[in-house]
């Protein structure tokens, strides 16, 4: 009897990864580098974008992910960059994260030919966004000092899934119980050697460093 061995390639069966690769192909075809920006609610993702995107030397666009509403997209309007709002509450069941198919549904609204860098601002959540690739090149995680130094230990997958951890709201350090050394120690335990930038979107401290990091993303991606 002839036996055919079927090797099940788990990754290939995952619909999300299949669609993420299709997104990736579209981004590549237009030479667009893509950042998946993740954090808990209120960590300051949008304010960081307001502060960094204006002065970028590359042409940037933003895909704003939210359960509902367009508050964040509206805030970014003054930057005069292409900004597209994607709501998981419209046809996607109010999901707590973006997935590859949602991002794909937004692609026609994005002027990929006019941008070099696309920032996808994910739904504020420290669990599920890490489980869904959307076609990004890199992931950045923003963690606010107001959230506490234990977050890497409580949500390790998020902190492991990213190439850069931005520690935001440094201006609040004198007023919260947050020991930076302990935070970095916890972070190193779950993701040894991950890059970090300490900043304050409010005072502007560290924002230039983040801007330079974003400008260097294309150079980091293997051709």
């Amino acid at each position: 009897m002839h036996r055919v061995r079927v090797r099940v390639v788990e990754d290939a069966l995952d619909a999300n990864n299949t669609i993420a690769r299709a997104n990736r192909d579209d981004f590549d075809r237009h030479g667009v580098t893509v950042v998946n920006l993740m954090s808990a609610p209120g960590a300051g993702k949008t304010t960081l974008l307001e502060r960094t995107l204006g002065g970028l030397s590359v042409r940037a666009g933003v895909l704003e992910g939210d359960v509902q509403g367009s508050l964040d997209a509206d805030r970014l309007a003054s930057l005069h960059l292409p900004v597209v709002q994607l709501n998981t509450g419209n046809g996607f069941g109010g999901e707590c994260h973006l997935d590859a198919n949602m991002v794909r549904s937004a692609l026609p609204a994005l002027p990929l030919e006019d941008i070099d860098l696309l920032i996808i601002e994910n739904v504020g959540n420290l669990v599920c966004p890490a489980e869904f690739r959307v076609g990004e090149d890199v992931r950045i995680m923003v963690s606010s000092v107001a959230e506490g130094e234990d977050k890497p230990l409580k949500y390790p997958l998020m902190f492991r899934a990213c190439s850069l951890v931005v520690v935001n709201k440094l201006d609040l350090l004198p007023y919260v119980d947050f020991d930076m050394e302990r935070f970095l120690h916890h972070l190193n335990a779950v993701h040894p050697g991950v890059e970090t930038i300490q900043c304050s979107a409010r005072t502007g401290e560290g924002v230039e460093e983040l801007r330079e990091w974003l400008e260097r993303v294309p150079a980091r991606i293997p051709a």
Copy 2:
């Protein structure tokens, strides 16, 4: 031909609600009032429990929900109350919320006969916890002023699903861009008339009010 009309009762087909009712029956049998405590990561749920549970006039217990680890349960150990850790990472796929079945799996570890009030501290998340009843009597939502005044508009389901909104970290008000009037205006837009308590777990402001609210929960529940 004889036709039988089957009326599909959506709620009855929902496995989570079925199990939540079974939990509810067990809680009722032991006369235990149950609070589902929800918030974004780092809003201060555990610190609030540290500050309020010690001085309660009712016998309290805590079910600590986390993706992994027992940091929060360890912090509450000094209160000498029954504390049970429930990890969604162990056998529950690392879910971003507690559901009725997870809580049910923890019931044998809970001394229901020895407590009057059970606080279930949910996973830090502003989306999915609101969609899963676990058998609770009431839900409390904690929102920190560091998260920003726009949160009720961005995560309306969470703010609608609760009986009380605790606005925490009042001590940070001078250092963050948070207009309490606007927050309360947004909150009233998504959940008109919901009760609120403004407090600071760090300074103790408003903690007594929260303690009294928790002690009054049993009286609020219809017999």
